[in-house]
Symmetry: C2
Subunit: 306 residues, 2 copies
């Protein structure tokens, strides 16, 4: 089934304890679609870049089966740019610079043949932009997942809450779940958030794994313990891309398949952090993914004998 991805395609400047990259390709939609491309066959991308964006990078995305008809290229404008520095523990980062550029007045116009996409992954963006995408879909997609962040809870909570009513799955991190719900306990937070609209909630906890909530059921996917984390940028988007990308081909929305999707999302994220930017995501093979998922099985597998 077809998958529509909406989000930023951008430049990042990243500094971690392991090094610095001045201007590399990033953006939520880049990570999402690239991760999804290992599973889904037809990926439609909606985003915007300036004419400073390298053609070679766009050609690379196309070569991965990502349709760029929905990517607007604004002549004479510059692409979205983000600069950040990670602390020693890699869990915290400081934003050094954010230049909206083309994103400032982004209107996500969907090409006609995108409107009946079966699966939608809304990357972190202004809630009103996310809503604009949902409104253009016809018929209503089989599955709509979205990401968001604290910033929109602070500045656009009402419109965020409207979007939440329209979606099937929300993917956010633990801090965001706490802020959105006003509950510290993630179990209580999930119960409240599931009443806001989404049927499924994934709470990402970075190096501490991810929780999938559905009704009264909880599934926990660990993060793979890694000796080195070079760059956490894009890990959450890569998780989302692996998650929704895994679901799209079969369209199987059973809880059993959702659990697998969370594991595949975690596996993809575990690759993402091994090198700067999307570099590692460009290298991996289906066999790498299969081996990585096997590691997740080994990591948590036990025979309780009770």
């Amino acid at each position: 089934m077809s998958l529509l991805t909406v989000g930023t395609v951008a430049f990042d400047q990243i500094e971690t304890p392991f090094g610095k990259e001045d201007k590399i390709v990033g953006g939520a939609a880049t990570y999402i679609s690239l991760a999804a491309s290992y599973f889904a066959e037809k990926i439609n991308l909606v985003s915007v870049v300036g004419d400073d964006f390298p053609v070679a990078e766009l050609d690379y995305l196309k070569s991965k089966g990502i349709d760029l008809e929905g990517l607007q290229i604004k002549n004479g404008e510059r692409s979205f740019f983000w600069a950040g520095r990670y602390h020693e523990n890699m869990n915290q980062r400081d934003t050094l610079d954010t230049q909206l550029n083309v994103l400032a007045d982004f209107d996500p116009v969907l090409p006609e043949n995108y409107k009946d996409s079966d699966f939608v992954m809304l990357g972190n963006l202004t809630p009103s932009v996310q809503m604009r995408v949902i409104e253009q879909m016809n018929p209503r997609p089989k599955f709509v997942a979205m990401d968001t962040m604290n910033f929109w809870m602070d500045t656009a909570l009402d419109s965020l809450l409207e979007v939440l009513k329209k979606i099937d799955a929300l993917l956010i991190n633990d801090d965001e779940a706490r802020q959105l719900s006003g509950e510290y306990s993630l179990v209580k937070a999930a119960a409240k958030i599931l009443k806001m609209g989404p049927k499924y909630l994934v709470i990402k906890k970075g190096e501490h794994g991810a929780l999938l909530f559905y009704d009264d059921t909880i599934f926990f996917a660990p993060a793979l313990p890694l000796a080195e984390v070079f760059d956490p940028t894009g890990a959450g988007d890569t998780f989302a891309g692996g998650f929704v990308g895994y679901l799209a081909p079969s369209g199987d929305l059973s809880f059993e398949n959702m659990k697998r999707a969370v594991i595949f999302g975690s596996a993809m994220a575990s690759f993402c952090v091994e090198k700067f930017g999307i570099r590692r995501l460009k290298e991996i093979t289906q066999s790498d993914i299969k081996n990585r998922v096997s590691k997740f099985v080994q990591l948590v597998n036990f025979d309780a004998m009770v």
Copy 2:
């Protein structure tokens, strides 16, 4: 097989966002032996209290099959006392008061019939006291596990490192593993610590679960997501008691059984935090434990189909 537990038996004053208890029974050996009593039949306890310690509490421990011949009762002296206050997130706490009292000159003299205990769990204590216990054992126990804390790394690192050479398993939290190894990555930290002596390393991450390291193998046990955590005091000791208590009856030290022991330790810890002090540990039944372990199975169980 018999299990020897060494650690504090004490009074705690605990303040959490949910309430305050002025003087309740606590101490590492209390939590360890109580948790272990659900699995192990013969538990030998070595500790020290003052004559202010309630006979009823000692009788209760005896009723759970815990042998108190090794518990020294010092006339005219007072029991160890700790007072602490937890922050809103329950992951941080401030120590408000520590009164060593009887612990100041504690000499852990083992009764003759304790010296051939098969399993030993050394609760967090001065490393030299832990060493004194090991030295009295004859023959060398089948399995020696220990807990320790940052304080001893700061103040008695050399003698701590000597104890590490004598043990089979070290159970510490993530901060402690990082301090002991000087490595932020827990994978790297574990590799270094396993070279210091222990064959097995359990890194406890509180609400984020626990990792078991052995050779190049890692097993991850999640923590059960809980709606309410009333009091985290003793959770780590309860984990240790469940872990070593589960191992003791069979004496099976295979990695498969170690994994189960980590899950049972996690299950016991998940009960501990549900009420103040040891209250919840006093209530639970074998059936509760079985049901709780089943929840851990459900929480992480998935069919990867790869």
